[in-house]
Symmetry: C2
Subunit: 124 residues, 2 copies
Protein backbone atom coordinates (compact mmCIF):
# COMPACT_ATOMS: atom_id res chain seq x y z
CA UNK A 1 0.00 0.00 0.00
CA UNK A 2 3.00 2.30 -0.50
CA UNK A 3 1.52 4.06 -3.53
CA UNK A 4 -1.11 6.76 -3.60
CA UNK A 5 -3.99 4.62 -4.81
CA UNK A 6 -6.63 7.13 -3.68
CA UNK A 7 -4.91 9.97 -5.49
CA UNK A 8 -4.58 7.95 -8.69
CA UNK A 9 -8.23 6.87 -8.39
CA UNK A 10 -9.42 10.45 -7.86
CA UNK A 11 -7.48 11.66 -10.90
CA UNK A 12 -8.69 8.75 -13.00
CA UNK A 13 -12.34 9.24 -12.12
CA UNK A 14 -12.23 12.97 -12.93
CA UNK A 15 -10.56 12.20 -16.27
CA UNK A 16 -12.88 9.30 -17.09
CA UNK A 17 -16.16 11.17 -16.61
CA UNK A 18 -14.86 14.34 -18.21
CA UNK A 19 -13.85 12.31 -21.27
CA UNK A 20 -17.17 10.44 -21.22
CA UNK A 21 -19.11 13.70 -21.20
CA UNK A 22 -17.03 15.66 -23.72
CA UNK A 23 -15.42 13.16 -26.14
CA UNK A 24 -16.90 9.69 -25.63
CA UNK A 25 -14.87 8.09 -28.44
CA UNK A 26 -11.62 8.94 -26.65
CA UNK A 27 -12.56 6.52 -23.85
CA UNK A 28 -11.13 3.75 -26.06
CA UNK A 29 -7.66 4.86 -24.99
CA UNK A 30 -8.42 3.99 -21.37
CA UNK A 31 -9.01 0.29 -22.14
CA UNK A 32 -6.78 -2.48 -23.50
CA UNK A 33 -7.24 -5.67 -25.55
CA UNK A 34 -8.41 -7.78 -22.62
CA UNK A 35 -10.41 -5.13 -20.77
CA UNK A 36 -14.02 -5.88 -19.85
CA UNK A 37 -17.12 -3.70 -19.64
CA UNK A 38 -20.41 -4.81 -18.11
CA UNK A 39 -22.85 -2.00 -18.90
CA UNK A 40 -26.29 -2.59 -17.45
CA UNK A 41 -25.45 -6.33 -17.42
CA UNK A 42 -24.45 -6.34 -21.10
CA UNK A 43 -20.85 -7.48 -21.63
CA UNK A 44 -18.15 -6.20 -23.98
CA UNK A 45 -14.58 -7.48 -24.24
CA UNK A 46 -11.62 -5.45 -25.51
CA UNK A 47 -11.05 -1.75 -26.11
CA UNK A 48 -12.56 -1.69 -29.62
CA UNK A 49 -15.75 -3.47 -28.59
CA UNK A 50 -16.06 -1.36 -25.43
CA UNK A 51 -15.59 1.88 -27.35
CA UNK A 52 -18.22 0.78 -29.87
CA UNK A 53 -20.65 0.00 -27.03
CA UNK A 54 -20.09 3.35 -25.32
CA UNK A 55 -20.26 5.33 -28.58
CA UNK A 56 -23.54 3.62 -29.43
CA UNK A 57 -25.35 4.49 -26.22
CA UNK A 58 -28.67 6.05 -26.99
CA UNK A 59 -28.12 9.67 -26.00
CA UNK A 60 -26.32 12.68 -27.48
CA UNK A 61 -25.42 14.60 -24.36
CA UNK A 62 -24.52 13.21 -20.96
CA UNK A 63 -23.23 14.79 -17.78
CA UNK A 64 -21.91 12.65 -14.92
CA UNK A 65 -21.68 14.07 -11.41
CA UNK A 66 -19.91 11.58 -9.20
CA UNK A 67 -20.40 11.89 -5.49
CA UNK A 68 -18.00 9.35 -4.02
CA UNK A 69 -15.00 7.42 -5.38
CA UNK A 70 -13.60 5.05 -2.75
CA UNK A 71 -10.41 3.21 -3.72
CA UNK A 72 -8.41 0.25 -2.44
CA UNK A 73 -5.16 -1.29 -3.66
CA UNK A 74 -5.34 -4.90 -4.87
CA UNK A 75 -2.94 -7.72 -4.04
CA UNK A 76 -1.32 -7.41 -7.47
CA UNK A 77 -0.67 -3.68 -7.74
CA UNK A 78 -4.02 -2.65 -9.17
CA UNK A 79 -6.69 -0.34 -7.78
CA UNK A 80 -10.36 -1.15 -7.14
CA UNK A 81 -12.71 1.87 -7.18
CA UNK A 82 -16.40 2.12 -6.31
CA UNK A 83 -18.06 5.26 -7.67
CA UNK A 84 -21.57 6.46 -6.90
CA UNK A 85 -23.16 9.45 -8.54
CA UNK A 86 -25.80 10.87 -10.82
CA UNK A 87 -25.98 11.44 -14.53
CA UNK A 88 -28.22 13.51 -16.75
CA UNK A 89 -28.82 12.61 -20.38
CA UNK A 90 -29.94 14.92 -23.18
CA UNK A 91 -32.66 17.26 -21.95
CA UNK A 92 -34.02 15.01 -19.20
CA UNK A 93 -34.51 17.07 -16.10
CA UNK A 94 -34.44 14.09 -13.72
CA UNK A 95 -30.90 12.78 -13.16
CA UNK A 96 -30.36 9.02 -12.90
CA UNK A 97 -28.44 7.45 -10.02
CA UNK A 98 -25.59 5.15 -10.96
CA UNK A 99 -22.89 3.02 -9.42
CA UNK A 100 -19.72 1.91 -11.16
CA UNK A 101 -16.86 -0.37 -10.12
CA UNK A 102 -13.44 -0.21 -11.81
CA UNK A 103 -10.27 -2.13 -11.51
CA UNK A 104 -7.29 -0.17 -12.81
CA UNK A 105 -4.06 -1.95 -13.78
CA UNK A 106 -0.73 -0.65 -15.06
CA UNK A 107 0.63 -1.61 -18.46
CA UNK A 108 4.34 -2.39 -18.92
CA UNK A 109 4.96 1.33 -19.61
CA UNK A 110 3.44 2.23 -16.25
CA UNK A 111 0.29 3.69 -17.81
CA UNK A 112 -2.90 3.03 -15.83
CA UNK A 113 -5.77 1.50 -17.77
CA UNK A 114 -9.19 0.02 -17.03
CA UNK A 115 -9.18 -3.76 -16.79
CA UNK A 116 -12.61 -4.21 -15.17
CA UNK A 117 -15.56 -1.84 -15.56
CA UNK A 118 -19.06 -2.62 -14.25
CA UNK A 119 -21.76 0.04 -14.58
CA UNK A 120 -25.28 -0.07 -13.13
CA UNK A 121 -28.14 2.35 -12.99
CA UNK A 122 -29.92 2.34 -9.65
CA UNK A 123 -33.64 2.81 -9.43
CA UNK A 124 -35.01 4.17 -6.17
CA UNK B 1 -12.09 -16.70 -18.45
CA UNK B 2 -12.39 -20.46 -18.38
CA UNK B 3 -13.87 -20.59 -14.90
CA UNK B 4 -17.43 -19.89 -13.87
CA UNK B 5 -16.82 -16.47 -12.30
CA UNK B 6 -20.49 -15.48 -12.47
CA UNK B 7 -21.58 -18.70 -10.74
CA UNK B 8 -18.98 -18.29 -8.00
CA UNK B 9 -19.99 -14.64 -7.58
CA UNK B 10 -23.68 -15.51 -7.34
CA UNK B 11 -23.00 -18.17 -4.70
CA UNK B 12 -20.70 -15.86 -2.78
CA UNK B 13 -23.17 -12.97 -2.72
CA UNK B 14 -26.02 -15.19 -1.48
CA UNK B 15 -23.76 -16.60 1.25
CA UNK B 16 -22.33 -13.22 2.22
CA UNK B 17 -25.65 -11.43 2.75
CA UNK B 18 -27.25 -14.44 4.42
CA UNK B 19 -24.33 -14.56 6.86
CA UNK B 20 -24.47 -10.79 7.36
CA UNK B 21 -28.17 -10.94 8.19
CA UNK B 22 -28.15 -14.04 10.40
CA UNK B 23 -24.69 -14.34 12.01
CA UNK B 24 -22.68 -11.19 11.42
CA UNK B 25 -19.67 -12.37 13.43
CA UNK B 26 -19.16 -15.30 11.08
CA UNK B 27 -18.27 -12.84 8.29
CA UNK B 28 -14.72 -12.82 9.72
CA UNK B 29 -14.16 -16.18 8.03
CA UNK B 30 -14.66 -14.61 4.61
CA UNK B 31 -11.70 -12.21 5.00
CA UNK B 32 -7.94 -12.75 5.45
CA UNK B 33 -5.06 -10.91 7.12
CA UNK B 34 -4.57 -8.42 4.31
CA UNK B 35 -8.23 -7.94 3.32
CA UNK B 36 -9.64 -4.41 3.18
CA UNK B 37 -13.06 -2.99 3.97
CA UNK B 38 -14.16 0.55 3.14
CA UNK B 39 -17.53 0.96 4.82
CA UNK B 40 -19.10 4.33 4.15
CA UNK B 41 -15.58 5.65 3.45
CA UNK B 42 -14.21 4.34 6.77
CA UNK B 43 -11.33 1.90 6.28
CA UNK B 44 -10.48 -1.35 8.09
CA UNK B 45 -7.55 -3.66 7.33
CA UNK B 46 -7.45 -7.38 8.13
CA UNK B 47 -10.10 -9.94 9.06
CA UNK B 48 -10.08 -9.15 12.79
CA UNK B 49 -10.45 -5.41 12.32
CA UNK B 50 -13.10 -5.88 9.62
CA UNK B 51 -15.11 -8.28 11.79
CA UNK B 52 -14.95 -5.82 14.69
CA UNK B 53 -16.17 -3.01 12.43
CA UNK B 54 -19.08 -5.06 11.07
CA UNK B 55 -20.05 -6.41 14.51
CA UNK B 56 -20.08 -2.87 15.88
CA UNK B 57 -22.48 -1.41 13.32
CA UNK B 58 -25.28 0.39 15.03
CA UNK B 59 -28.23 -1.89 14.43
CA UNK B 60 -29.48 -5.19 15.78
CA UNK B 61 -31.35 -6.58 12.82
CA UNK B 62 -30.55 -6.15 9.16
CA UNK B 63 -31.95 -7.64 5.98
CA UNK B 64 -30.17 -7.23 2.65
CA UNK B 65 -32.06 -7.72 -0.59
CA UNK B 66 -29.60 -7.57 -3.46
CA UNK B 67 -30.97 -6.85 -6.88
CA UNK B 68 -27.98 -7.28 -9.18
CA UNK B 69 -24.57 -8.90 -8.82
CA UNK B 70 -22.50 -8.45 -11.99
CA UNK B 71 -19.15 -10.24 -12.03
CA UNK B 72 -15.96 -10.14 -14.12
CA UNK B 73 -12.76 -12.17 -13.90
CA UNK B 74 -9.57 -10.23 -13.14
CA UNK B 75 -6.21 -10.59 -14.88
CA UNK B 76 -4.86 -12.55 -11.92
CA UNK B 77 -7.55 -15.14 -11.32
CA UNK B 78 -9.78 -13.10 -9.02
CA UNK B 79 -13.37 -11.94 -9.47
CA UNK B 80 -14.70 -8.37 -9.31
CA UNK B 81 -18.37 -8.05 -8.34
CA UNK B 82 -20.66 -5.02 -8.28
CA UNK B 83 -23.78 -5.50 -6.18
CA UNK B 84 -26.72 -3.12 -5.95
CA UNK B 85 -29.62 -3.62 -3.60
CA UNK B 86 -31.62 -2.50 -0.62
CA UNK B 87 -31.30 -3.14 3.08
CA UNK B 88 -33.64 -2.67 6.00
CA UNK B 89 -32.35 -2.17 9.53
CA UNK B 90 -34.18 -2.83 12.78
CA UNK B 91 -37.77 -1.68 12.53
CA UNK B 92 -37.24 1.01 9.92
CA UNK B 93 -39.93 0.71 7.29
CA UNK B 94 -37.94 2.58 4.61
CA UNK B 95 -35.23 0.42 3.09
CA UNK B 96 -31.87 2.03 2.22
CA UNK B 97 -30.28 1.66 -1.20
CA UNK B 98 -26.70 0.40 -1.25
CA UNK B 99 -23.94 -0.49 -3.65
CA UNK B 100 -21.00 -2.76 -2.86
CA UNK B 101 -17.92 -3.76 -4.81
CA UNK B 102 -15.94 -6.91 -3.97
CA UNK B 103 -12.80 -8.48 -5.25
CA UNK B 104 -12.63 -12.19 -4.44
CA UNK B 105 -9.31 -14.04 -4.48
CA UNK B 106 -8.39 -17.67 -3.87
CA UNK B 107 -6.11 -18.72 -1.02
CA UNK B 108 -3.49 -21.46 -1.55
CA UNK B 109 -6.10 -24.06 -0.55
CA UNK B 110 -8.41 -22.85 -3.32
CA UNK B 111 -10.84 -21.21 -0.90
CA UNK B 112 -12.37 -17.96 -2.16
CA UNK B 113 -12.09 -15.00 0.20
CA UNK B 114 -12.77 -11.26 0.09
CA UNK B 115 -9.66 -9.21 -0.63
CA UNK B 116 -11.41 -5.88 -1.45
CA UNK B 117 -14.78 -4.76 -0.07
CA UNK B 118 -16.20 -1.26 -0.62
CA UNK B 119 -19.69 -0.49 0.69
CA UNK B 120 -21.71 2.68 0.08
CA UNK B 121 -25.20 3.77 0.95
CA UNK B 122 -26.87 5.68 -1.88
CA UNK B 123 -29.17 8.56 -1.17
CA UNK B 124 -31.73 9.41 -3.83
Amino acid sequence: MAFDFQGIATQFVAHYYNTFDTNRKALAGLYRENSMLTFESSQSLGAASIAEKLAGLDFQKVKHVYETADAQPTATGGIVILVTGKLAVDDESNPLTFSQAFQLCQDPQGQWFVFNDIFKLIYG
